[in-house]
């Protein structure tokens, strides 16, 4: 399958500070990708590079087979909903749809009108008078009605209350089922990502810590607990992500493609949140040497 997002040695520097470094990604099409990481990790930078709002300092990025924002055909392939789902406060919903129709080659006006109607919104309403949830839904409508191959959403639900958050994700998932969209969405909450996404990218401190199919990642990470021992004595195929020790006990979070046979360990399964938190918690220096081995591709 072709890649919807491919980055090689991608980096972005703002004056002295690197916001993104050594980023290699190869995300297959048809996925819903969750980009997770703490605030300031570089999530927005990566998404802005993918949408063509920023240009790389180093390396290359390709989206749907082309350089981002390099002409009308390329622009039509990618929808981008920036952070805080911005809309034009003084313009009405109808104005937004009219603008969408004028600015986009592949605009689906029937789809846009149907969605606004289903949401129970008034076409004459100004965007500035909408609630946060309604504004997010308007931005999502514009993103979907453009009929892109890839929809990029930067923290789309961060500012929404739980109900609006749920409704937004329901609508997004329905659109994915209906239009076979690829989606990349960022969030600092793993719970947002666990249901909606089937692929995750963990970004910490301007670097990709791990990326891969969520079910594959869950299948190959385990928690091992047992009598205290040195993690260096593990078999070659077991990569330690985090280790903690008491005077008697050792707890390890390991990645391994094969079963753990050592009877002295109690092996327990991990949820996505445990795995993501482990990659976030470990020191970034250790990451540099081992990161390529952590990529899960299938």
């Amino acid at each position: 399958m072709s890649a919807v997002l491919r980055a090689q040695a991608l980096g972005k520097r703002y004056k002295q500070r690197w916001a993104l470094q050594n980023c290699d990604l190869d995300v297959p099409a048809g996925r819903v990708v969750g980009l997770v990481g703490p605030n300031g990790a570089g999530k927005s930078t990566l998404l802005n590079l993918a949408s063509g709002m920023l240009t790389p300092t180093t390396g290359t990025i390709e989206v749907c087979g082309g350089r981002p924002a390099t002409g009308p055909a390329q622009l039509a392939k990618v929808g981008f909903v920036a952070q805080d789902t911005p809309t034009y406060a003084a313009l009405s919903i109808a104005d937004h749809l009219r603008m969408g129709a004028r600015l986009n080659l592949s605009w689906d006006n029937a789809l846009a009108r149907e969605r606004i109607r289903r949401l129970g919104l008034n076409f004459k309403q100004r965007a500035g008078r909408l609630s946060g949830g309604q504004r997010a839904q308007l931005a999502l409508t514009l993103g979907i009605a453009k009929r892109p191959e890839l929809l990029i959403l930067d923290e789309p639900v961060a500012a929404l209350d739980p109900l609006a958050r749920r409704e937004f994700m329901q609508d997004l998932m329905e659109a994915v089922a209906e239009h076979e969209l690829s989606v990349v969405l960022s969030s600092h909450l793993v719970s947002d990502v666990e249901r909606a996404c089937d692929y995750v990218i963990v970004l910490v401190d301007s670097r990709v810590q791990v990326a891969g199919d969520i079910d594959d990642l869950v299948a190959c990470h385990h928690r091992l607990t047992g009598p205290r021992r040195d993690p260096d004595t593990l078999p070659a195929g077991q990569h330690v992500i985090t280790a903690s020790h008491t005077d008697r006990q050792t707890t390890l979070l390991v990645r391994t493609d094969t079963a753990v046979h050592d009877r002295s360990w109690t092996v327990s399964p991990l949820g996505l949140e445990d795995i993501v938190l482990a990659y976030m918690a470990r020191p970034t220096d250790a990451v540099r040497d081992t990161r390529p081995a952590l990529e899960v591709l299938r």
Binding site: R166, Q170, D171, L172, M173, E174, S191, R195, A196
Partner: protein, 130 residues
Amino acid sequence: MIEFHLNDRSGASPYQQLVQQVRHALRLGLLEVGDRLPTVKEVARQVAVNPNTVLKAYRELELEGLVAARPGVGTFVTRTLADASLASHGPLQKDLRRWLAKARLAGLDDESIEALFMTTFRTAAGEDVA
């Protein structure tokens, strides 16, 4: 028709939860042969889950021979899990109750009972596999 729900704290992945819920409904006779499962789009919307996850769950059920997809029509139940074992649920439950009473009498609290059950269950399951 079955209505899915996902529990974020269950420890099982969304895909496993969907499979388990269908199997559970088949075992209890809540789903019968010929019943239609909701469409991928319906489930995606209802529980705000990735459509690929629903597809994956349905494919697994299909591999197990429990459902069959008819293109353009839907996914239908082709086999139930209820018939053979449902009759033995009653006696097994009775045994389990008796065992629970014994455990309480021996002074085990709920947590100890659960821990004992789960370790025995896991060990037994592990021996079956090995």
